[in-house]
C-alpha cells in the first residue's frame, strides 16, 4: 500500500448526463437506466406494480373428450366437445386451435427448417461435410427418415362442427387451425363445438418427441409391450391474451406451450389389463380397479410412506399376459391448462397421501407409475421426491393446487403436465438378472422428479408463456429445484444452477441474452435454466436478502396463480414486493450477455495533514528518509569519488545546520493564521480529525466483465481481525467501469489485505484480481496436481495410471453400441 498525503478538497458535483440511445459524446453507459422504455406499458389488464390489473381477463376452454387406443395399430381416435368462453373485451370472428401433432407431418415448418448439421436441431445427428471431411448421416437419422416415410403422422381431423351438427369451416396452417364461427363471438359469450380426430402415435425414441410410445420387445408377452405417453394429443385452444391477441406462433419443437385454463372430463378406452395414470382424479374406480386396489388406494391416503396399489410382482404378471377386452377410465380435472396421460400393462403403481392442513386439497395423492425397468430406484425415491417437492415449493409459493401429483416412467427424459410428469431415469440390468443404479442416476431421478413436479407450480399454475419465454418457468423452477435438492441432501452432487456453476458459460462469447424467444436460444440449458437460477440465488442471498426475496417470490406466485404473467409482471412484482430497484439487475442479467468480473486494482493509504509544521514537516522528513538512496550517489560513494562539501568542511552556513524541513517562524505564523481563519465549527471538526488520526484508504475497482454487481469485501487488518462489507451495486451508477471508495478506520486499525467476493457468490469470473495485495493464483490444474490421493468423490490422478494402461485402453471399435435398455 502506498502512503500518500492528502488534503480535503471541496468538489463541485457535476450534473449526471442522461443516456437515451447510443451517444457520441463520451462513453457513458447507463447501466442503471430504468427499464420503462423496454418494458410494455402497464394498463388496466396488467398494472405498473406487476399485478393483474383491475380489468384482468383470460379466456376459458373446457373439454369433454372420449378417446380410444388401438394398441396394436398404435393409433388414437377421439372426439371432443369444446366450450370456449370469450372473457376478453373483443369480438372474435374465429377461433385458433393448436394441432401440435402436425409437427410430425413431413411438410411441417419444423421438418422443413431443420438445418443440416446446424445447432439446436431436434432429431438425430447429421454433420455437414467440410474440406476433406465427408458429410455424415447417422443410422438414427436414417431410421427417423424411414419412419417418417412409412407412417403418416399428424392429426387426421375428420370433422369440425357445432354441437347441433352444423359443419364449421376450418383452415389448417401448419400446427395451427382456424375455425370460422357462423356468428362472431362477443365478449362474455360462449361457443361449443365438436372435433373428431385421430392420429398415429410416434415412437418416442425414433422420432424424438415429448410423448409417444416405447416398445419393449424382450418382454415375456409375445410381441412385447408398450408404454404409451399421451401429451399434445388433442386439439388445444391457442391462447388469446391482452398483449398478443391470438398467439399464432408455430410449434417448432423447442418453445413449449402457451395455454388456457379449463375444466376437463376425459374418458379413455384401453386394453383391460392396462393401468392408466392421468391428469385429474379417477371418477370410476369401481369399474376399472379391483377391490384390492381400491382398498389399498384408500389406505395410501393416510400412509406415512409410499405403498403399492399395483405391486411390482403384479405388474410383472400383467406384462406377461394378454388383455381380454377393453376398459374405459374416466378422469376429470378442474382449472388445468393442459391434460396428459399414460397407459401400459407394465406399470407398478405406488401412492402416498401428502397432507396440507387448511389447503383447498387437504390430501394430495402423490403417486408413481413405473415398469420393472424403474425398479427399486423408483419404489424408493420417486413418490418420496414428489412429496418432498410439494413441501418445499409450497413454502415459496402456495399450497399444492391440485388433488394428485404423479410421476410416470417412460421414454421421455423429463416433461411436465398438470398433476402428471414423465420422468426417464432407470436401473441397469446386470448379467445376473439383478437391477442396480449408480449414484448419479439416483441424483438424476430425484432431481428430475423434483424439477418436473415443480413445474406443476411453474408454469402449470403460474401460467407463463413458454413458447416465448422458456426462462420464465425454467429459471424459477431450476432455482427452486436446487433449493429443494440441497434440502434433500446437501452432500449429493447436484449441479448447474449456482452462480459459480455458470462462470464458464457467462464468460464465453457467442451467447444470446436470457430475453430471447425460446426457439432462437443457443444453449438452452445454461441460458434458460442455469443463468436465471444463478441470478435468483444472487438476488436472494446477496442483493435483496432471504426474507424479502422469498416474500417477493411468494407474492409473484400468489398474484399470478391461475393467471398468465409476462416478464414485465415478474420484474415489476419482485421489485415492488421487495422494495428494491432492480432495473439494473434485470438489464444486466436478462437483457445483456455481460458477465461479472470486478477487479480490485489498487489501495492507497491516506493520512490527514495536521497543518502543524512541527508535526507535518517531521513527517515529510521521515518520508524522505524512507526513500531508497539515489543509485548514482551510491555508485559515486562506492567509487570513492570526492564530494566537495566533505572536502571543504570549513565552509558552512545556515542551510548546512538546518534541513529544508526545519520549522521556520514563517511556518509557525502561517499555521497560527490558518487556525485563526477557521470558524468555530470548522475548528471543532478539524481538531477532532487530528485528534482521532484515523486511517483513510481509497480502494479503486474496475468492472472488467460489464455486469454491475454489489462489491462484497473481506477486509483483514494488521491486528488479525477482519470485517465483511457489502457495497451496493449502485456504486457503479455514474461510472460503470471504474469506481473508487474511501474507507475510514480507527487509528491502529491498519488494513493488511482485501478480498473481493470471498464466498464466490456473485459469479465473479476472475478470482485472481479479487485479491489485494495480488496473490499468485494456482490454475485449476496446478491445484489438481497437488491433490491428495484418489478418494471416492474427490480427485483421481490418472497420469501414472495411464502410462500403465496405455496398451489395454479399449479401442473405439470395441466400444459396442448397446441399445436402450
Amino acid at each position: 500500500m502506498r502512503l500518500i498525503a492528502f488534503v480535503f478538497a471541496m468538489l463541485l458535483a457535476l450534473p449526471a448526463h442522461a443516456q437515451g440511445i447510443q451517444q457520441t459524446k463520451g462513453s457513458f453507459e447507463d447501466k442503471f437506466r430504468q427499464l420503462d422504455e423496454v418494458l410494455r406499458s402497464p394498463n388496466v389488464y396488467r398494472n405498473a406494480s406487476g399485478a393483474p390489473g383491475h380489468q384482468y381477463w383470460q379466456q376459458q376452454a373446457d373439454y369433454r373428450i372420449t378417446a380410444s387406443l388401438d394398441e396394436d395399430a398404435r393409433r388414437l381416435t377421439a372426439k371432443a366437445t369444446i366450450t370456449y368462453k370469450n372473457n376478453s373485451p373483443d369480438t372474435l370472428p374465429w377461433i385458433w386451435m393448436q394441432l401440435d401433432q402436425n409437427i410430425f407431418k413431413k411438410d411441417s415448418m419444423s421438418e422443413l427448417t431443420n438445418t443440416f448439421g446446424g445447432p439446436g436441431r431436434r432429431g438425430p445427428a447429421v454433420s455437414a461435410g467440410s474440406g476433406g471431411e465427408p458429410s455424415k448421416l447417422s443410422l438414427e437419422e436414417l431410421r427417423r427418415q424411414q419412419a417418417m416415410e412409412d407412417n403418416s403422422y399428424g392429426y387426421d381431423i375428420a370433422r369440425v362442427s357445432l354441437t347441433n351438427g352444423r359443419e364449421l369451416s376450418h383452415t389448417i396452417v401448419g400446427t395451427l387451425m382456424r375455425i370460422d364461427l357462423p356468428t362472431p363471438l362477443r365478449p362474455g359469450q360462449s361457443v361449443s363445438f365438436n372435433i373428431d380426430w385421430a392420429f398415429n402415435i410416434v415412437e418416442e425414441n425414433v422420432i424424438y418427441a415429448r410423448s409417444g410410445y416405447e416398445h419393449f420387445p424382450d418382454d415375456p408377452r409375445e410381441g412385447g409391450n408398450d408404454i404409451f405417453l399421451f401429451a399434445q394429443w388433442f386439439p388445444r385452444l391457442v391462447a388469446y391474451s391482452d398483449y398478443e391477441g391470438w398467439h399464432n406462433k408455430e410449434f417448432l419443437g423447442r418453445g413449449e406451450f402457451t395455454l388456457e385454463f379449463g375444466d376437463y372430463d376425459v374418458t379413455m378406452t384401453v386394453p383391460n389389463d392396462h393401468i392408466v395414470s392421468s391428469t385429474g382424479v379417477l371418477q370410476n374406480p369401481n369399474s376399472v380397479l379391483t377391490a384390492t386396489q381400491r382398498q389399498r388406494l384408500s389406505q395410501a391416503r393416510n400412509a406415512d410412506a409410499p405403498m403399492f396399489i399395483v405391486t411390482p410382482e403384479e405388474a410383472e404378471a400383467n406384462e406377461a399376459s394378454n388383455p381380454t377386452g377393453t376398459k374405459t377410465w374416466r378422469y376429470t380435472a378442474n382449472k388445468v391448462r393442459d391434460f396428459a396421460w399414460a397407459t401400459s400393462r407394465k406399470f407398478a403403481w405406488d401412492a402416498q397421501g401428502h397432507k396440507q392442513p387448511g389447503a383447498e386439497n387437504e390430501t394430495v395423492m402423490a403417486m408413481s407409475f413405473y415398469p420393472k425397468e424403474g425398479g427399486e430406484l423408483w419404489s424408493k425415491y420417486s413418490t418420496a421426491a414428489v412429496v418432498h417437492t410439494m413441501k418445499v415449493y409450497s413454502r415459496f409459493s402456495f399450497d399444492y393446487p391440485y388433488p394428485t401429483a404423479q410421476s410416470v416412467n417412460g421414454p421421455v427424459g423429463g416433461m411436465e403436465y398438470p398433476m402428471i410428469t414423465f420422468n426417464g431415469p432407470r436401473t441397469n440390468l446386470n448379467d445376473d438378472g439383478s437391477r442396480t443404479y449408480s449414484e448419479s442416476e439416483k441424483v438424476f431421478l430425484i432431481g428430475v422428479v423434483i424439477h418436473e413436479i415443480g413445474h406443476i407450480y411453474f408454469p402449470m399454475t403460474v401460467n407463463s408463456d413458454e413458447r416465448q419465454w422458456t426462462w420464465m418457468d425454467e429459471g424459477i423452477n431450476s432455482f427452486l429445484d436446487s433449493v429443494a435438492g440441497y434440502e434433500w441432501d446437501p452432500d449429493m452432487p447436484w449441479g448447474r444452477s449456482l452462480p459459480r456453476d455458470l462462470i464458464p458459460y457467462m464468460v464465453s462469447n457467442n451467447q444470446v441474452p436470457i430475453m430471447t424467444q425460446s426457439d432462437s436460444v443457443l444453449n438452452l440449458g445454461p441460458n434458460a435454466y442455469g443463468k436465471p437460477s444463478a441470478a435468483y440465488h444472487i438476488l436472494r442471498d446477496t442483493v435483496i436478502g432471504r426474507e424479502r426475496f422469498d416474500f417477493a417470490l411468494r407474492e409473484y406466485a400468489r398474484r399470478w396463480k391461475f393467471k398468465r404473467p409476462t416478464p414485465e409482471d415478474f420484474f415489476r412484482t419482485i421489485e415492488e414486493a421487495s422494495g428494491t430497484d432492480l432495473d439494473w439487475f434485470w438489464r444486466g442479467w436478462f437483457y445483456t450477455t455481460d458477465h461479472v468480473d470486478i477487479s480490485l486494482d489498487s489501495i492507497y493509504k491516506l493520512r490527514l495533514d495536521t497543518k502543524n509544521p512541527d508535526i507535518d514537516l517531521a513527517r515529510r522528513r521521515e518520508e524522505l528518509a524512507s526513500e531508497p538512496e539515489k543509485v548514482g550517489v551510491r555508485l559515486n560513494r562506492e567509487q570513492n569519488l570526492p564530494i566537495w562539501v566533505l572536502e571543504n568542511p570549513g565552509v558552512t552556513d545556515f542551510y548546512d545546520e538546518n534541513d529544508r524541513f526545519t520549522v521556520t517562524p514563517k511556518d509557525t505564523k502561517s499555521y497560527e493564521s490558518f487556525l485563526e481563519s477557521l470558524d468555530d465549527w470548522e475548528r471543532r471538526v478539524f481538531d477532532r480529525a487530528i485528534e482521532e488520526d484515523k486511517n483513510y484508504y481509497v480502494l479503486s475497482f474496475s468492472n472488467k466483465g460489464g455486469l454491475v454487481m454489489p462489491i462484497i469485501l473481506d477486509l483483514t487488518f494488521a491486528d488479525g481481525t477482519s470485517e465483511r462489507m457489502t457495497i451496493p451495486a449502485e456504486i457503479w451508477r455514474r461510472n460503470a467501469r471504474n469506481v473508487s471508495k474511501l474507507m475510514v478506520f480507527d487509528k491502529g486499525k491498519e488494513l493488511a489485505s482485501v478480498l473481493v467476493d470471498p464466498n464466490w457468490e456473485t459469479a465473479d469470473a476472475d478470482i485472481g484480481n479479487n485479491y489485494y495485495p495480488r496473490k499468485i493464483m494456482d490454475s485449476r490444474i496446478e491445484t489438481f496436481k497437488r491433490s491428495a490421493p484418489s478418494s471416492r468423490t474427490g480427485r483421481d490422478l490418472m497420469a501414472e495410471v495411464l502410462v500403465k494402461d496405455e496398451d489395454e485402453t479399449e479401442s473405439e471399435g470395441e466400444m459396442q453400441s448397446e441399445g436402450s435398455e
Binding site: A125, G414, S779, S820
Partner: protein, 162 residues
Amino acid sequence: MIRNLAFLIALLLAVPAAAHQQKITLSTVSHNPRTDMLEIVHRIILHDAEHALKALGKDAPDIVNDLESRRAFARYVAKRFTVKREGEPVVLTLLGTEIDGGNLVVYQEAPSPGPGVELLVNSQILMDIWFKQENRVNLGAGTEVETLVFADSGQAQYARLP
C-alpha cells in the same frame, strides 16, 4: 451442376432421449505463464457422461463411485478432443478427473506453444453418441476468452491462444 460428394453413415449409438440431459460440455484451453503449460479443463454433466458410457458398452457405469467407469470416460474424452498446431497434433497428457457438483471435470495438459499461437481445436465429445450435443470451448482463462461452439458439424475450428 450438382457435385457428387462422399456421404458416410455415422454409427451413432442408440441412447434413449432424455429431455433433461443438458447435452453441453464446456472446455477451457489456456496458457499458464508460470508453468508454460497448455492447460485443458473439460466439464461434463455427470449423468450425461454416465449415459454415454452405457451407450459405449459399459455395463452399469457409475462415474461417482467407480474409478474404472470414470477413467474409461476420461479416456473417451481424450479421444474426442483434439488440438493441432500447424497441422501437427498437440499431444495432450490426460492428468485425471474430479467430481465438482454435478460435473465430471477432466484435466489434460501439454507443453504450451505459447500465447498468440493459432490452434486448430475440435471438441467432438458426446457428438458420436446422441444428437443435439453442443460443445463450447473457451480459449483463455479469466475474463477475456475466445469461444468456439461445436454443434454437430464435425468441423475443427481455428482460434488464437490468448
